[in-house]
């Protein structure tokens, strides 16, 4: 903004201001109504959801899955997605710092005199993109499960068969959850991205080849020969049922 544009703005603004209404009582009335809405929502949420208090802090746990407050989910997701160790400090301190600096300096690099949203396409695109990205990351962070659980219902065929098939499927799912497969592999919504996605592995590999990989895997996958015979059978059965379109 150059001196002429500044003067033009100030002149325009002072006219608009002189045409306006006083803060008290007109704006105060609106603010008061809004305050009632705010208070009502706080009281409503307090009455509806109460103040949950979880189990006492236990630094010795090895089974707890920490999750942040929802408004830090986007940061949590960034930390989860940026995998290479060399980029970890960038994800934890670099990205947030850069974002904060960009936010601080906004009025100093966006200095154009135009204020109407439809005439600031770059600013609007950047703003909407930021909101969309934060919303997406927050959603992804919110649905991220623990690597110790598989969020999946038995496919229709297995559920219909019932009996031994269903029991084996449930047991195999349990083994997957407890053996840490999801640390590297993705099954359904849940899991890591280091190894291949196993969501539809049943269509791609036979039972025999699945069993072979478990005992004699390619690096860096660990051996699962320590698993008992029956558990390994259940595991293979579960994986074999992960077919395209079965869930």
């Amino acid at each position: 903004m150059n001196a002429r544009e500044k003067e033009a703005y100030l002149r325009e603004y002072s006219i608009l201001k002189s045409q306006g209404k006083p803060f008290f009582p007109y704006s105060v009335a609106k603010d008061g109504l809004m305050a009632v809405v705010v208070m009502a929502s706080i009281i409503g949420m307090s009455l509806l959801f109460g103040a949950e208090l979880g189990p006492k802090a236990d630094p010795t746990t090895t089974t707890y899955t920490p999750r942040p407050e929802w408004y830090f989910f986007f940061l949590f997701e960034v930390l989860r997605v940026i995998k290479p160790p060399s980029l970890t400090p960038l994800a934890s301190i670099g990205v947030p710092t850069i974002c904060m600096i960009l936010l601080f300096l906004l009025p100093f690099y966006d200095r154009g005199p135009e204020r109407r949203p439809e005439r600031r396409p770059i600013a609007m695109a950047a703003g909407l993109f930021t909101i969309a990205a934060m919303a997406f990351l927050t959603y992804e962070g919110a649905i991220a499960g623990s690597p110790n659980q598989v969020d999946m219902e038995a496919p229709a065929a297995v559920a219909a068969a019932g009996g031994e098939t269903l029991r084996q499927w449930e047991s195999g799912k349990q083994v997957v959850a407890q053996s840490g497969c999801l640390a590297c592999h993705k099954i359904g919504h849940n899991g890591g991205v280091l190894g291949p996605d196993l969501t539809e592995i049943g269509s791609a590999a036979s039972r025999a080849s699945l069993a072979r990989v478990l005992v004699n895997p390619t690096q860096p996958m660990p051996e699962y020969s320590a698993l008992s015979e029956s558990k390994r059978d259940d595991l293979v059965e579960f994986l074999a049922q992960l077919k395209t379109g079965s869930h």
Partner: protein
């Protein structure tokens, strides 16, 4: 020679007649008497503080034409902050920031104290509401271009307030000392520690030692209820002063109805 004397100070000049004096008779009814007393009390304070000018400047300043409901988000945030302050003070009357008793005291608040769970719930959900309102208020400012000249400094103060609000929620998160608190804080402190060179020392400062220790909770508590609210209150003061000084923006699509011919000459 009398004309050369300095004028009488404003406070000592004869007052204009009050509403009851206009009728030419002294106040008789009880209501009139009370009104008269009230006016004289306000006068007494104003004679000693001269606040009326400032109050008039603040309350009767004009708000430009065309402002809408999005303009209430700022005051709504302020209101949420005040609600947090009040509920927080009450919670502080029952809370004990020690590693061995913090959880018990929060459980006592939640289960035993009259209205305890309700007030703690208001504080807990109030923080969520405040964070949402801060973001909405910031979004309004961004999309209306309200951070531009001459309000750049107020945007910067606003971002500081956003940061302080997030620090508030971070430090407050540890205080109930349940599993969620402890691990969220562990991760938060570790994130803080990845700042190069200063990170390790900053962590030792936050925890008062190399591990979560005896005074860590008290430190977070002091930050949460003394340092950060003080900083937020001061920043809100500066923020509001600048809002009143520079005026609320008009929505960007509102234009003055001056004659277009005049506007042409102007340019």
């Amino acid at each position: 020679m009398a004309n050369l004397r300095p004028p009488l100070p404003r406070a000592l000049r004869p007052k204009p007649k009050g509403p009851s004096e206009d009728n030419g008779h002294a106040p008789t009814g009880a209501r009139e008497a009370v009104a008269e007393k009230g006016i004289s009390a306000v006068d007494w304070v104003d004679e000693r503080t001269s606040l009326s000018g400032g109050a008039r400047w603040l309350m009767f300043r004009k708000i430009p034409r065309g402002t809408n409901w999005f303009y209430t988000l700022g005051s709504a945030t302020l209101f949420a902050f005040l609600a947090q302050a009040v509920t927080g003070v009450i919670l502080a009357m029952y809370y004990d920031p020690s590693a061995t008793r913090a959880y018990e005291s929060v459980r006592y608040i939640t289960n035993e104290v009259f209205l305890g769970e309700f007030v703690r719930g208001m504080h807990k959900w109030g923080s969520t509401v405040m964070v949402i309102l801060v973001f909405l208020h910031m979004g309004r400012t961004f999309f209306y271009g309200a951070y531009k000249y001459p309000r750049e400094l107020n945007w910067v103060i606003g971002v500081v307030l956003l940061l302080l609000t997030l620090f508030m929620s971070f430090t407050g998160y540890l205080l109930p000392f349940d599993q969620r608190s402890f691990w969220a804080t562990t991760v938060g402190v570790a994130i803080n520690g990845t700042g190069p060179l200063v990170g390790p020392y900053l962590n030792d400062f936050l925890r008062a030692g190399p591990e979560f220790g005896t005074t860590t909770l008290a430190r977070f508590y002091a930050l949460h209820m003394l340092v950060l609210p003080g900083a937020i209150a001061a920043m809100i003061g500066a923020h509001l002063y600048l809002v009143a000084r520079l005026g609320t923006t008009a929505p960007p699509w509102i234009k003055t109805d001056i004659d277009p011919e005049l506007r042409k000459e102007d340019a």
